[in-house]
Symmetry: D3
Subunit: 153 residues, 6 copies
């Protein structure tokens, strides 16, 4: 059973996240969208909301699950018998951020490999941070988040 973890804070989930997971889905038996529940960081949206939106996004995808975890991603991988971490790369700066994390994760747990997809161009400008900023200032964020998600309720 080939299981991948797709870790993040998903504050909120974007069309970029949705696209990466759906593109990778055929390659794995299971993908766990894993919300890192790091209490020390401020999130805009409640954990419950974030879980709900991810579930809604993938409700028609039987092999995609949502979970939360605390602690190191590689420890959560071991717990879930997942040998793969899945991540998207939008730009060179994303690469620079991901490279040391992937190398440290490999160092901490040699059984876990990180695989990357390059974001499709139409989603490469989307980040949770920019979406939140637009939302906070009253802009229309519906083109940037999965269909059917309403951040206001």
């Amino acid at each position: 059973m080939k299981t991948a973890i797709f870790p993040g804070s998903f504050d909120p989930i974007t069309k970029g996240h949705e696209s990466i997971v759906k593109r990778a889905a055929p390659l794995f038996d299971k993908i766990i969208v894993a919300i890192g529940d790091n209490s020390s960081k401020n999130r805009l949206f409640d954990l419950e909301k974030r879980i709900e939106w991810i579930k809604k996004t993938f409700k028609n995808e039987p092999n995609i699950e949502v979970m939360t975890y605390k602690g190191l991603t590689v420890d959560f991988c071991k717990e879930q018998k997942a040998n793969y971490i899945l991540r998207g790369l939008r730009s060179a700066i994303d690469f620079e951020y991901e490279q040391p994390i992937a190398q440290m994760n490999k160092n901490l747990n040699h059984n876990v490999e990180s695989f990357f997809l390059i974001t499709d161009p139409e989603y490469s400008a989307i980040s949770s941070t920019i979406v939140k900023e637009i939302h906070k200032h009253g802009g229309n964020i519906s083109p940037f988040i999965p269909e059917g998600i309403n951040l206001d309720k």
Copy 2:
């Protein structure tokens, strides 16, 4: 059957290539190391030599094959019923080179997804180009190419 193409010129194969393929091997049913036989580009080593060295490198890996191809990588993918392209990323500049290629390949053939592994640190400085340069000037390239390969015969 999940088949990945690992395309390149492998002039010559390096420990970096070897590492990427071996790390990815558990995720795929078959990986085809595919030498792009582009007659217009000058290669230092004969195609025959390059094939032989790759075969030797993976002789104990039953699900890794070597093939050559002409034309577009995505057309070779279709021919081989391969839905995945595998590539390594050593640095931000590699990312910048690979990003448009991956996006164009997706555009040309929507059934093909490119997956990337980030090179392990000990191999991140190795490239066929640098290996050739060192070899040409009489330096010892054995730390940079797979064990058992001798570029001089």
Copy 3:
């Protein structure tokens, strides 16, 4: 009437900002130096001071104005009938930061185009952040801010 918005926090204005606006001035009928008044972010200098310094910097430039705004930059553009956003690029990392913002702004308001100038070399190391850091530690910041500006009063 071709109006450009030059948005920023200008905390404080630097010679880099001054240079970008003056270089772009001949191309536009009006440039509005627009201070984003985002109450949630901590600024070192009062809004009043920041406005005063910008006014002083461009006091001899009849087509350069200073304004403050809240909310999205693209909404302020619409309000001011400005079809252009002007930004400076000092480095690849600036580009990586500006690219998704420009693309999102275009997406939010198709009538607004962002134009970029590359910072002149002598100003490429200057940022408000570094200027503040030097000022806080008692260093001489006068080479980095417009002539006639005194941050201490």
Copy 4:
């Protein structure tokens, strides 16, 4: 009269070039698409073909012209009384390539400013080089070049 030069080899013109010029057109009185006729570089397509395709692309844009030039771009600017150079930026690596050129051009002719637009995401993977590569191998390049252009005749 505000005239911009959009210099390049346009071997061939792509949808990326077309998009940059059309987005910039409202800001300038005239944009000259200027083919650098550097005899020492090998081009795939004849100069005549390249001119014809650009003319066809902008046939409905009265303020966009096509010209060829030899020598330095800044000298051609002076000859055409153009105070602006227009360029597109697709990625950080484009920025790194354009930065020294823009700074040197400014140094050689202080009256010329280079303005940059960031490529729209849907065109950011397109380059003449990749288009040529795909064309050479028999791939379908029509999604990447302006409508109505046929590279084979």
Copy 5:
């Protein structure tokens, strides 16, 4: 006497820091590992601990000292009659961060030159930030910090 300052927060010291200082040691008469004691920034580890760990790391290196300083690094250089600043570069993003700092330091004090070493590959993924994150979540950080250092006491 050729003295270099190796400034940082060392929160905590890593094998990456250790390697840079030891590689540079033969070139200088003295290297001062200088902890910037900036009270406004939150550090995870006490200043005393950080000093102790650095001393332990270099206890066999007679020409390497540990000091703390407040204020600008270039002012501390002057105070210590040090004409050199030493820094490590792990990646392009490190370069982008260090470039304006080095240029500003040169501007503030023309007698100080910053010299850079590129981090050895095996340490290029290590940063104090990642080490702290792993430590906080109960991971084993001993492969990433100098031998003999125990962060828990």
Copy 6:
């Protein structure tokens, strides 16, 4: 005796090269400006001219010499009992180019360390390649090459 090699093709030497060597000169007992005489690469200027111009540039610097070498830079270092390689970094892309070379050189000869200076901003746009391009098209390159050098004789 602390000797550094400053390797390059110097086709031609620029003010950027001159600046790096002069800034580094106080740290070393001797700096050898070393022209890699790689017969397979096309150079615009004769080796004799290039040597002459470098000699002229540093004629008042007693500890700076000019030499030519064939083969690997690290082998030339050994021959000259030089434990240091000196290089300048203008940009992130320079870093990306230099990083694997420095790491490979260290791997080939553990006694050689590469030290880097970041180019002063006023020289960061200058490269031999751009200088040649401007020269070829009849532009004035005197601001970019050392004083007293005349490329035409």
